[in-house]
């Protein structure tokens, strides 16, 4: 069993390394890094225990194939027990207790340092879960500086961030494995999670509590960037949407604001201001469409608008039934929303 276990452990490390943007072993956040070190401590202790148990078991099996054994029914001594086994039992009990105590204490202190890493947050983000997308609001004391986005989170590296979590419908769970563990979003409660990103990069988060038919397509793109880039991004997000330029974009804008889209979506700077669906003000600057269902591209935007139910069956975005012209115009306009 040992070589097999070693190979599997090696495979685990190798496989763990090849995925960098959604990986609990990434350790790019403070809590995530604590997880990685604690995880390997547990793996080491558990591997020793496993070797002890399975090793002594297999050794016992190999030894017990002997033709005669003194303490069996064949010798009439099946009830007798060697004294040494009793002492070993006590030793084993102590070993388990000590091992578990070490692990419990390690777990306790990791938990404490997790709690500490998010102290004194310098940025507050409100994330609200919906079936099946994330509503993200960057709050500021100055209301004119607050803004909304959806299905993406930008974080400055090295800055503690507090994320306040709420749900509009069912229970969801906020999970960006590279940065930290999970926190559920529960209707009727406000929960929170502290994030402290230590490395820049693009990471993927995903809803981790089953929340209905499209639970699989409820992802979150997390960009950790330098403070400078983050400020640039914030400045972009705070401004109104870019105005349509070409006639086809203008036609798309008209359709958006006059027709179905504006019943649910908002674009800052336009009459569309509904908050039922994701805010689309800077839609085209995002990494993906529909909470990670499709990567961002003109073709995917068109495919998504043409028939959302085909891409994400059961989602709340209906198939509007657009003419080819309307579809083209709308796609052009959406592409404009950088």
């Amino acid at each position: 069993m040992k070589p097999k276990a070693a190979i599997l452990a090696a495979a685990l490390v190798a496989l763990g390394a090849c995925n960098t943007f959604q990986n609990a072993l990434g350790g790019e956040g403070a809590d995530g890094a604590h997880f990685v070190s604690l995880f390997w401590v547990f793996v080491a202790v558990c591997a020793v225990m496993y070797a002890a148990i399975v090793g002594s078991f297999l050794l016992g099996l190999w030894r017990a194939r002997r033709p005669r054994a003194p303490l069996t029914v064949d010798e009439g001594k099946h009830q007798e027990e060697p004294a040494i086994a009793g002492r070993l039992l006590a030793a084993w009990a102590i070993l388990i207790a000590v091992g578990l105590t070490i692990l419990t204490v390690a777990s306790f202190f990791t938990d404490r340092s997790n709690a500490k890493s998010g102290e004194h947050p310098q940025l507050l983000v409100n994330v609200t879960g919906n079936q099946w997308w994330w509503d993200v609001q960057y709050s500021s004391g100055d209301v004119s500086k607050s803004f909304r986005t959806a299905n993406e989170l930008h974080l400055p590296v090295g800055v503690p961030v507090e994320v306040k979590l709420q749900s509009n419908d069912v229970i969801h769970s906020f999970w960006v494995p590279n940065l930290a563990g999970k926190q559920d979003l529960i209707p009727g409660r406000v929960t929170d999670i502290q994030l402290l990103a230590r490395k820049t990069g693009l990471f993927r988060g995903q809803c981790a509590e089953f929340c209905g038919v499209q639970h699989a397509h409820m992802a979150l793109d997390v960009t950790v960037e330098s403070l400078e880039n983050f400020r640039k991004w914030v400045t972009l997000q705070q401004r109104a949407a870019f105005a349509p330029q070409s006639p086809v974009e203008l036609a798309g804008y008209r359709f958006f604001t006059a027709r179905n889209c504006s019943a649910c979506h908002a674009i800052t700077g336009s009459p569309a201001s509904a908050t039922i669906g994701p805010d689309l003000t800077h839609f085209a600057s995002r990494q993906s469409i529909a909470a990670g269902t499709l990567p961002m591209s003109a073709a995917n935007v068109q495919a998504w608008i043409a028939d959302p139910q085909r891409q994400k069956p059961g989602s709340n975005m209906p198939k509007v039934g657009l003419t080819p012209d309307e579809l083209r115009a709308l796609t052009a306009f959406m592409e404009r929303l950088k």
Partner: protein, 653 residues
């Protein structure tokens, strides 16, 4: 029946040799068997089949039905593995996938895991403690029909495309009236009610049987370890199931008549469900696992040719696990944002529960070290159990730690963990136990060749199917997703899992094939083919309806090893009527003689009437009220007192 003055015995474990002068003539041999067979016979025909209250019939029905559900839920697992074999697959729709994983989990937990263990307990317990029937045989029969009704409800719903789609845990508000659309969730919740009734009925019956019907001389300290595990799990069922009964009733009431138990907008609480559900749900795992440790203890003893080392430690471990299991439920809720100090307590408790299991493992290993092991198929499954279950146990220690669980919770790491625990810890011992007791049940041995082939396939296929899930979970794959994107490195682990799943499915089919083939053409077994020490091997295979012609008297933990040629027997039970010997709870001193219920179709009718009431109450609250009327009529008929025939000269054994 008989005035108390006619009780027999001198109240010590030893039973008098001379018969009481007022009893009838003592019988032995063929005449005794004939008369006992007549007294314990089944009424003829289909009605008789429905009326059976024989624990062997009921246990067998439980096991066969549960194995059928295992096959069905396993087929669903294969559909899931096919769907997940590659990213972005569209073999099944999202909606259908949700139904499938809900059906898989629900069936495995409620219709396979617990019932198959209870079925084994129902079959084996009276034989192992040396009695003729269960304590409340009609209640046992009733429980089976309720279980079957619940299973039929769920699977008929699946066939009709109204299967539940909110997971086997059914968290509100997703399962509540607003988001749990239609009757799907009601069907799930009412299926829970069916299995609760069945499970509680069996638990009560088994507890009473174990405590009051042990053979004279079988003190608590001489009870086989499997019987101890039966007692502990039955008590756990009695304490755990009311919690989920309450939870599912509140959910049904929210859904049917618009109460607000789980509605935060009206001062209800969505988390209330999780507390109630996991207060049941965690012990549930041990309710499945502890009987398996009982199997392992029996198999290890028999195949090591000696008693399990440190019997009192094993018993205390069982009891300790049973108690600790009720203090762990919050470790399913570490991500809900409860106070952190509370989490530390549940971390400690979750880690502590591995102590008793660790001690049990030591006792089995020590038994093997000092014994002489025969590597036959049941023992092979014990090997698979240790190698596999310990991985699951240790990954359980990992997720007991809050910082680790917050990452691993609700990922495929957890899927891997609990399949290692439940398949490694319960199904492997169960397959070993089926192989071990198959000759007792049928009188024939299972094929060794097929047995070894399916063993190696399931053991290796299992590792291939479930070990990669640890990796998939660490790489960020959440549970309960019907698809996953490519390019995240999830392709290889998922493909390996799907291939391994196929091997496991083939192995299970091979095992079932082995059952069928061996039933027809297995080698004749004889009463005790393995040279085992416990009482069930003292009677012919398959056992007669009355189990034992003479009730055995026990003077040690391993009666068949200590007096291999002949057992002491108790005398003085009537032959022409169904009669049991009740003994005292601790020391098993003969206490009174007790009539045992005759076969009756009324438990079946009562179960059918209760089923109608339960199913009707999915659609209208009045269903519950008016549904009780036929159920009450059936119960009255069931309990209608029967005047015993006056026997001038009672005949005794």
């Amino acid at each position: 029946m008989k005035p108390p003055g006619k009780q027999k015995g001198d109240g010590k474990g030893k039973v008098p040799r001379q018969r009481s002068p007022r009893d009838g003539p003592q019988l032995t041999g063929g005449e005794l068997d004939r008369r006992l067979a007549a007294a314990w016979a089944l009424p003829p025909g289909f009605i008789g089949w429905l009326s059976s209250v024989d624990h062997k019939d009921i246990g067998r029905r439980y096991i066969i039905t549960a194995l059928a559900f295992l096959a069905l839920a396993g087929a669903l697992a294969m559909i899931m593995r096919l769907q997940l074999a590659r990213p972005g697959n569209d073999l099944v729709s999202a909606q259908r996938y949700d139904e499938i994983f809900t059906m898989h989990g629900t069936t495995m937990m409620f219709l396979f895991g617990v019932p198959v263990m209870q079925g084994m307990q129902i079959y084996l317990t009276p034989l192992m403690i040396g009695t003729r029937a269960m304590a409340f045989p009609r209640l046992t029969a009733f429980s089976y029909w309720m279980y079957l009704g619940g299973g039929a409800l769920l699977w008929v719903a699946f066939v009709l495309n109204i299967a539940p789609d909110v997971g086997w845990f059914a968290y509100p508000p997703l399962s509540g009236p607003q988001y749990g659309v239609g009757k799907r969730v009601d069907i799930w919740a009412q299926m829970i009610t069916f299995t609760e009734v069945a499970g509680l009925a069996v638990a009560v019956t088994l507890t009473a049987t174990v405590l009051k019907q042990r053979a004279p001389g079988m003190t608590l300290a001489r009870m086989p370890l499997f019987v101890w595990s039966t007692l502990v799990t039955s008590l756990m069922v009695i304490f755990a199931l009311p919690s989920v009964a309450l939870a599912s009733s509140l959910l049904l009431s929210d859904r049917l008549v618009g109460t607000h138990f789980y509605n935060p907008a009206e001062r209800g609480d969505a988390l209330l469900w999780q507390h109630l559900f996991w207060f049941f749900g965690h012990p549930e795992v041990y309710i499945i696992f502890l009987p398996a440790t009982g199997f392992v203890s029996e198999i290890v003893a028999t195949f090591s040719r000696r008693s399990v080392f440190a019997y009192p430690i094993v018993v205390l471990s069982l009891a300790g696990t049973g108690i600790l299991a009720f203090g762990l439920w919050v470790h399913h809720m570490f991500a809900t944002g409860l106070p952190r100090v509370g989490y530390s307590f549940f971390t400690g408790a979750s880690m502590a529960v591995s102590v008793p299991t660790g001690l049990q493992l030591y006792c089995w290993i020590a038994t093997i070290w000092v014994g002489r092991v025969r590597m036959q198929v049941p023992m092979l499954y014990v090997v698979a159990f240790v190698i596999t279950f310990v991985i699951g146990g240790l990954s359980g220690v990992m997720i007991a730690a809050v910082p680790l669980d917050l990452q691993l919770h609700d990922t495929y790491f957890i899927v891997a963990h609990f399949h290692y625990v439940l398949i490694g810890g319960a199904v492997f011992p169960l397959l070993g136990a089926i192989t071990y007791w198959f000759p007792k049940v049928t009188g024939r041995m299972m094929s060794d060749t097929l047995g070894k082939l399916s063993f190696w396939m399931i053991f290796l296929g299992f590792q291939l199917a479930f070990f990669p899930m640890h990796i998939a979970g660490l790489m960020g794959m959440p549970r309960r997703v019907y698809t996953y994107p490519g390019g995240m490195g999830l392709e290889i682990p998922n493909l390996l899992s799907s291939v391994g799943g196929g091997v496991v499915a083939l192995a299970i089919l091979l095992f079932l094939l082995n059952l069928i083939v061996s039933l027809r053409s297995g080698a004749a077994a004889g009463p005790n083919p393995w040279g085992a020490p416990t009482l069930e091997w003292a009677t012919p295979s398959p056992p007669p309806r009355y189990n034992f012609a003479h009730l055995p008297v026990v003077a040690s933990l391993t009666p068949l090893w200590d007096s291999p040629d002949r057992l002491l027997v108790a005398q003085g039970l009537r032959v022409d009527e169904r009669e049991l010997l009740l003994t005292s709870v601790i020391d098993a001193v003969p206490d009174i003689r007790e009539p045992s219920a005759e076969p009756s179709p009324w438990p079946f009718i009562a179960a059918a009437a209760t089923s109608v009431a339960f199913i009707a109450s999915i659609f209208s609250p009045w269903g519950l009220l008016f549904g009780t009327i036929p159920a009450a009529i059936a119960l009255i008929a069931w309990f209608w007192p029967k005047t015993p025939p006056r026997v001038e000269e009672p005949v005794i054994t």
